[in-house]
Structure formats: C-alpha cells, structure tokens
C-alpha cells in the first residue's frame, strides 16, 4: 500500500543568465531559485492496484517516484510505502520495492545479464532455490532464454530493457515503480512488456505505479490514473471516468464510397470534422447522437466504421492547457 499526504519536494537551483559576464558574477554571488517539483500531493494506492501516473514533462512524476522509492528526502509531508517511511531505506523496505527507470541501466555493461543477476542475488540475499525459481519464471515470461549469456553491450535496446526488468524483479518486490519502462521500444516489445507487467501484477498481487509517454501503455494497463501538473494533483480516479468527464463525445471514423454524392454536405451534417484524408473521415459526435449518425452512414454505404473514445493524448493536452496560467 502507498499513502502520500501533502508531499512537497523543493529543489534549490542556482540561476544565472547566459553569457560570460554573468558566469563570472555567479562565481561571487549566486542567486538561487526554489523549484517546487512536487507541491502538496496526496493520494493512496491499495495493494494490487495498477495506477498510471501522468503529467507533462517536468510535472514532478519522476521526483515523486524517487521520493516513494526512498531516493529523495521529501521537503515535507508524509509518505508511507509498504508500511515503511521510504527515505529511511530500511532493508525490509528495499526488499519489497523496485524502481525501474527506462533511461538508466543497472546491468553490468561488459558482462552478460546473468552476472548482474548473480550479484543482485547476493545483494538481496535471495536463497539459491528461490532465485532459480524466480529466474525461470522471468525467463519464461520475458523470453530471456537467448539473452542471459550474451554480453549486455551486444543486446538491442528492447532486449536490454527486458533484462533490466528481470534484474529489478529478482527479489520479488510487491511494489513496482516503473518510470518509462517502454521508452524507445518498438510496438511488439511494448506489448510484451505490458503483458509481462500485467502478469506479474496478477501473479504476485503487486502494486504497480507506471509513468509512460505512450498513452497506449496506460490505457492497456491502468484502470486508474493519477494526473499531476506542476507538482499538484489535477485528477485521481477511473481512467474511463476521466475521459467521459473531459470529453464525452465519441469519435466516429468511416470511409465514404468513391461514388458518394455531395460528400461535403453529408459530412457536415454528421458532426464536427476532426480529420479528413481523402475518403477517410473522422468526426466528433455527441454520445446520444451516435446511433443516428451510424444509421445515416449505413444508408450512404460508408465502410470501415469505427466508434472510439477520444484518445488519451488529446484529453491530456486539453487538461494541461486548461491548467496553464493565462499568459
């Protein structure tokens, strides 16, 4: 379980205008600015939940995850993870959590991942039998077989990420903080990692907190989302609810037959056009009018009909714009 109450994390950063003169002046007297990376954040996550943690760049997501994992000392507020105060970094706490950072690596560069695993086994003091069982399970779930004994530097980005995940999970943590675990990966690798995270979550009733720039990851994995911007909470709840609340309209896409008469007039009648690429059209339609619109499209022999929720990217774009201060 994760409980965060009124968390703030401020950084004091040294500020200086560009140029040599300013650089010289900054040697003598420096001006500091306090950056509020996280500013009064509160939420609670129950055991076994999968939660998406969203926000624009610089919103404070990574800082929050680092505080939760005990890497950073909070400026103020209470944080409890797995019944521990993270920054004390007690052994019993560290044995139950893991933090995976898509942009940082813990694998030993010149050696095969198996060596890193052996080291983590020693560090976490995992008994040999349990280690073998976990490694076998991870090897199966992530399809690591051919990778284990290849030097890390010869692995592709996706292969390395899978090995990173395994390295982070060998001690069977029950709370997973995943910071951009799919960054830079191709679609099939993204799918594999998603599937794996869901499996792990279900097998071990593990709590998962995930940040990702790929909204598909979040939509596929997280029934609940926490959205923050500039360090403060702007939404916490059901993902579908968020979409409905922000934009209840559906997206209806279709392809008009080549011989359609007066297509412009027809499209205009259906709803607001969002995208039009030759005969392929996407319009925005209020939910209660969807049935009528679909009937109409059938009459005109439209094909490849699709009705979807607005994409999460769009919802977030609107949210973050709205939250921005007037300029």
């Amino acid at each position: 379980m994760i409980r965060v109450a009124n968390l703030t994390k401020h950084f004091r950063v040294h500020e200086r205008p560009p140029g040599l003169k300013a650089a010289l002046r900054s040697l003598v007297s420096r001006t500091y600015k306090t950056v509020k990376a996280v500013d009064g954040l509160s939420f609670e996550i129950q055991r076994g939940e999968r939660v998406g943690f969203l926000g624009p760049n610089g919103a404070g997501k990574t800082t929050t995850l680092k505080v939760l994992a005990g890497l950073l000392h909070p400026t103020s507020g209470d944080v409890v993870v797995e019944e521990h105060i993270p920054f004390l970094r007690k052994t019993t706490f560290l044995e139950r959590i893991t933090l995976v950072m898509g942009q940082k690596s813990q694998l030993i560069w010149d050696l095969p991942p198996a060596e890193t695993y052996a080291m983590n086994r020693a560090i976490f003091d995992v008994p040999h039998a349990a280690f073998a069982a976990t490694l076998a399970e991870l090897t199966e779930l992530l399809d690591l077989g051919p990778l284990l004994n290849k030097p890390t530097r010869q692995l592709s980005l996706g292969e390395r990420m899978k090995c990173e995940l395994a390295a982070a999970l060998l001690h069977r943590p029950t709370t997973l903080f995943l910071d951009e675990p799919t960054i830079g990966l191709d679609v099939s690798m993204q799918l594999a990692i998603r599937q794996f995270v869901r499996d792990y979550n279900q097998r071990h009733e593990a709590t998962v907190m995930l940040t990702s720039h790929y909204m598909d990851d979040v939509v596929a994995l997280c029934p609940r989302v926490i959205v923050i911007d500039r360090g403060t909470l702007i939404h916490d709840g059901d993902l579908r609810g968020l979409i409905k609340q922000m934009d209840p309209d559906k997206r209806v896409s279709f392809t008009l037959p080549a011989d359609a008469r007066e297509p412009d007039a027809l499209i205009a009648k259906l709803g607001t056009v969002i995208e039009r690429d030759g005969p392929r059209v996407t319009v925005r339609v209020p939910e209660r009018e969807v049935a009528g619109v679909v009937g109409h499209l059938f009459e005109h022999h439209a094909t490849d009909l699709a009705i979807e929720d607005p994409p999460l990217e769009e919802i977030l774009r609107v949210m973050f714009k709205r939250e921005s201060p007037p300029t």
Binding site: L94, M101, K104, I123
Partner: protein, 262 residues
C-alpha cells in the same frame, strides 16, 4: 558481516570476469605491473648510488618503505581507485540510484564495486621486495615487530581508504572529480619517501593534513623495530578517527544526494 564478505567475493568474481572480457588488456596490464615496479625502485637506486643514508634511513630500510608503498598503492589502484571512478560515473549517469535501492549499505557497495585483479601481481612484488630488504639487512624482524608492522599496514590502508572516501563524498557536490583524484594520487606518491625527509610545514601536512606518513613511514618503522608501542597506538587511533570522520562525511553526502535527472 558474512553477507558483506560474500558480496565482496561475488563482486570480485564479476570484476575478474569483466577484466577477462578484454583478454589482451589482461596481459598488457600484467606486464605494466612489472614495469611500474621497476620504475618505482629507480629513484631509490639513483639516490642511494651516492650516499649510504638519507634522513636516517639506510638503503635497505628505505626498501622497506617502498615495499609498504607498493602494498598500499596496490590496494589503492586495485580496489579503491577503480571503485571511486565507477562511483563518479554512476553519479553522473544517474545509475547511482540503483545502488541506493539495494538493501546493503551504499558505502560497502561502492567500495567493492570494482576490482582490478592483476594488482595482485603488485602485492606479490611488494612482498618479495620486503623479504629482499630484510635479507640484505642480514636479520629479520622480531615477532612483535612483525605483528606491529602488519597491524600498522592495516591502519595505513584504512587511512588511505578514509581519505579516498572523503574525496568520494565530495563527488556528490562537484560531480566532476577527476582533478581531485589526480591531486590525491600525486600527493600519495610522496608516501614512497620516509617522512623524515620532509621538514617544517611539509612534515606537518604529510603527517596530519594528508597523512601519507600514516600509510607507509610509520608502518615501516614498526616493522623495523623503530616505533614505540605508544606511537603505534597513536597511528592506529588516527586511522580509526579518519575512518569515522570519512563515514560521517559520506552520510551527509548521501543525504544531500539529489539524483541526476530522469
């Protein structure tokens, strides 16, 4: 403690396999070890070519200091320095986050992060040199002197380690640490000379500020039977104090760690 020892063994094995990953390097480094040993002895040969005693030390006794110097240097270059380089690299890249996430004291993890196994050749060379020095002198150390000399070797290595950990702690604030380690390395080179060679302010600096005398001169004097029990105790005390101080500094540094950007 057993866990730490086991961990160090695993890291040693991994470092050794890392080293073997580049086969040519392994042989080149082994050869370099021999070359360095010869070069270390060269100034001594030149100096004692024209005189029989320098600052109260005969050539054979000076060889004992060089032996200690090579032992401490082997630990420095084989364990401490590579680990420190690794630490700075991890702080810069942010991978140090992963070190802090491990349920083992970060200082232990950092200190054992990297070994250069071929420095074992240096240790063997240094031991051979010590034996040679005593053979030339004509008689070996007494049992008490041997025990005291060994104890002070440990103290000397501890003092050196403390100095480097203090330096490592600085890495959390300045990140680019290359110059500081070069400076420390250059200062450490002074340890090949008996402390009595230095006078006035320099002797003070090398005994108390950057205590290289603790690392080689005093242990050598103990082995040669030229250091009283009380002074030996003071050396051990100083080394312990340095260890404690560096530990405190390290903990302050860890608390202030802000982690590199995501």
């Amino acid at each position: 403690m057993r866990k730490i020892l086991r961990l160090a063994l695993v890291q040693l094995r991994i470092s050794a396999s890392s080293a073997m990953a580049y086969r040519l390097d392994f042989f080149v480094e082994g050869l370099m070890s021999l070359v360095w040993m010869t070069l270390t002895l060269l100034p001594l040969v030149v100096l004692y070519g024209t005189r029989t005693s320098v600052a109260g030390w005969t050539a054979d006794e000076a060889l004992v200091i060089i032996g200690y110097f090579m032992l401490v240097r082997a630990v420095l270059e084989g364990v401490v320095s590579p680990s420190l380089v690794e630490l700075v690299e991890r702080i810069r890249s942010g991978a140090f986050d992963y070190t802090l996430l491990k349920p083992v004291d970060a200082q232990v993890l950092v200190s054992t992060a990297k070994f250069e196994p071929w420095k074992l050749f240096d240790v063997l060379g240094a031991l051979a040199l010590l034996v040679y020095a005593f053979v030339r002198r004509g008689y070996g150390p007494s049992a008490v002197d041997l025990a005291l000399g060994s104890l002070l070797l440990v103290a000397g290595v501890a003092a050196m380690y403390a100095l480097w950990i203090a330096c490592a702690a600085a890495a959390f604030w300045v990140v680019r640490l290359d110059n500081l380690t070069y400076l420390l390395g250059a200062v450490f080179d002074v340890a090949r000379w008996p402390i009595q060679v230095f006078r006035g302010a320099w002797r003070f600096v090398f005994t108390f500020v950057i205590p290289v005398a603790l690392m080689t001169s005093y242990p050598a004097m103990a082995l040669l039977g030229r250091l009283g029990g009380l002074r030996a105790l003071a050396v051990v005390g100083c080394a312990l104090a340095m260890l404690v101080a560096s530990r405190l500094l390290w903990r302050v540094a860890i608390r202030n760690y802000t982690s590199a950007s995501s």
